[in-house]
Symmetry: C2
Subunit: 309 residues, 2 copies
């Protein structure tokens, strides 16, 4: 099991405040929390702002469950880059005797993993993953390309942490662009600027920067450095609970990665590239609470009007 990353004192203090004010409900597992009505009110207010920002592109709305076919994850390359973050789903295999043994062990909180076998689903690691095979199944992409709004889906990362901004289960609001190679970088950088402006309107002290993914292992450092050099990933960062600012949104140019993995084609031939953006809902809610305080009625009137017009 992934190693627990302890919180800094500042992160731990903020976590306690979130629990005391009821925004988070403790579950006993790091990074797994319930959310209050007030938390959801902020989250939905922000989500509506993304709806508005995306509307001019007239995206196609699709929604996917928090589970992905295992074969899609295998094809995506995620297990190569981030094997340590993936969650897979196992289920019971056996008859009456195995069920009785499982139940007895579980009742004592002992290991019952031997009665579980891997299923053909995994936890969705990023809300855009189901979009690529779904689009590939439709046949060649129209000349104008396509934008898909995958909504705010629950995603999973196996990284237990005491930092309330590093959850194991959290909402990513994702938009995906599928188009000709030359147009993706502009779309990604346009949305980075949109995002920065949007978070600025909410009173957040946000900055954008070139970024890289948390690739696994010794080879990972090289991949990360190449990603930075090519400016394929940007993040928007906000100070939540220090010492470092936290990424609350990311904007990614995948080049032909997903197109090659899932066989995306354009009408009349020609290569497809893809890009996506993801707003981390919970991190944005935490940034707003950290910046404006726990009393929503006391938030600046301009921010309240933006979120709840």
């Amino acid at each position: 099991m992934a190693e627990f990353r302890p919180a800094t004192p500042e992160q731990d203090a903020f976590r306690r405040e979130l629990l005391e004010h009821g925004f988070f409900v403790e579950s006993g597992v790091p990074g797994i929390y319930g959310r209050s009505a007030a938390f959801e009110r902020i989250r939905r207010g922000f989500d509506r702002l993304v709806d508005e920002a995306a509307a001019p592109e007239e995206p196609e709305t699709l929604r996917f469950p928090p589970l992905l076919p295992r074969k899609q994850l295998e094809a995506s390359g995620f297990l190569k880059s981030f094997p340590h973050l993936a969650g897979s789903v196992f289920a019971f295999e056996g008859g009456d005797a195995e069920a009785a043994a499982l139940q007895e062990r579980a009742g004592r909180h002992e290991d019952w993993s031997e009665f579980q076998a891997q299923t053909d689903v995994v936890l969705t690691p990023a809300a855009c993953y189901p979009v690529y095979p779904a689009m590939a199944a439709r046949g060649p992409l129209p000349a104008a390309g396509r934008t898909v709004d995958a909504g705010a889906a629950y995603t999973f990362r196996a990284e237990p942490s005491g930092d309330p901004a590093r959850l194991q289960a959290f909402h990513q609001r994702e938009l995906v662009r599928l188009d000709e190679p030359g147009s993706i970088a502009g779309w990604v950088e346009g949305w980075r600027d949109h995002g920065l402006e949007l978070l600025g309107r909410l009173g957040l002290d946000a900055t954008a920067d070139v970024a890289s993914d948390p690739f696994f292992g010794r080879g990972g450092r090289m991949l990360a450095s190449s990603q930075r050099e090519q400016r394929l990933k940007f993040e928007i960062l906000v100070e939540i609970a220090g010492p470092e600012p936290t990424a609350v949104a990311s904007f990614n140019n995948h080049q032909d990665h997903f197109a090659a993995a899932f066989g995306l084609e354009r009408e009349g031939g020609g290569a497809v590239h893809t890009g996506c953006l993801g707003f981390g809902h919970e991190r944005i809610v935490l940034a707003l609470l950290r910046t404006h305080g726990f009393d929503l009625d006391g938030w600046p009137a301009t921010v309240r009007r933006e979120l709840w017009p």
Copy 2:
């Protein structure tokens, strides 16, 4: 892995229609589908009607992720009654060598389960499960009891099926009541009648009946029969794609089951009983599509006004 249950010809024909009209997006795994904007519009319309129906009780709104602490599932008794339906989350354990082996096997769609170890989370099997330990952690229940609105959460059941109404990942809209023993049966039956009336207003030919849970194994039949005799579970049934009508909502009196499992107490002593109700969002959407057709604009005006006032 759980055995695949093939669809009846009628179920299979309806599944194809849902895919052709775009309400479902195929994933390649039975019971795992994407949903279109129109599907979500119906689902959200229905969810709002439940909000309205619940408002007079002034429930406390809480939201939980689709993952539950493993210890909570172990304490709940679910693994005793339904070991075959539970999904557990596994994740990577190992270093660079194991990661390389995992990636190689996954790239060939071969078995990589040996590099996965059980984590301390499982998939939420019913949206009410996180509520009981959260309420127990608050201390004794107030004299007036408590109603919690757990929202429409994604739940998982390991039962791959060709029937589009039997999903592995689906939304349950759950309300939970925690109160003194004598009051739960009335709450449960009141909501059964509410639910029947609500679904009737949507033009569904719905009926309510005493029901039982799909308990596992040879001992299961006795448990089911005792549950029926004591009238502890009711379901609302609608004809979706035959031959049998499908349960679209359930209303459950748990007696002291969860109170005992999680140590729920009342102020000043006295026993706590609990009850819950769950509307199966996707089944209700399918029942509406089956009843009124795939063209939402052609639905009866009264139904449209109810869903989208």
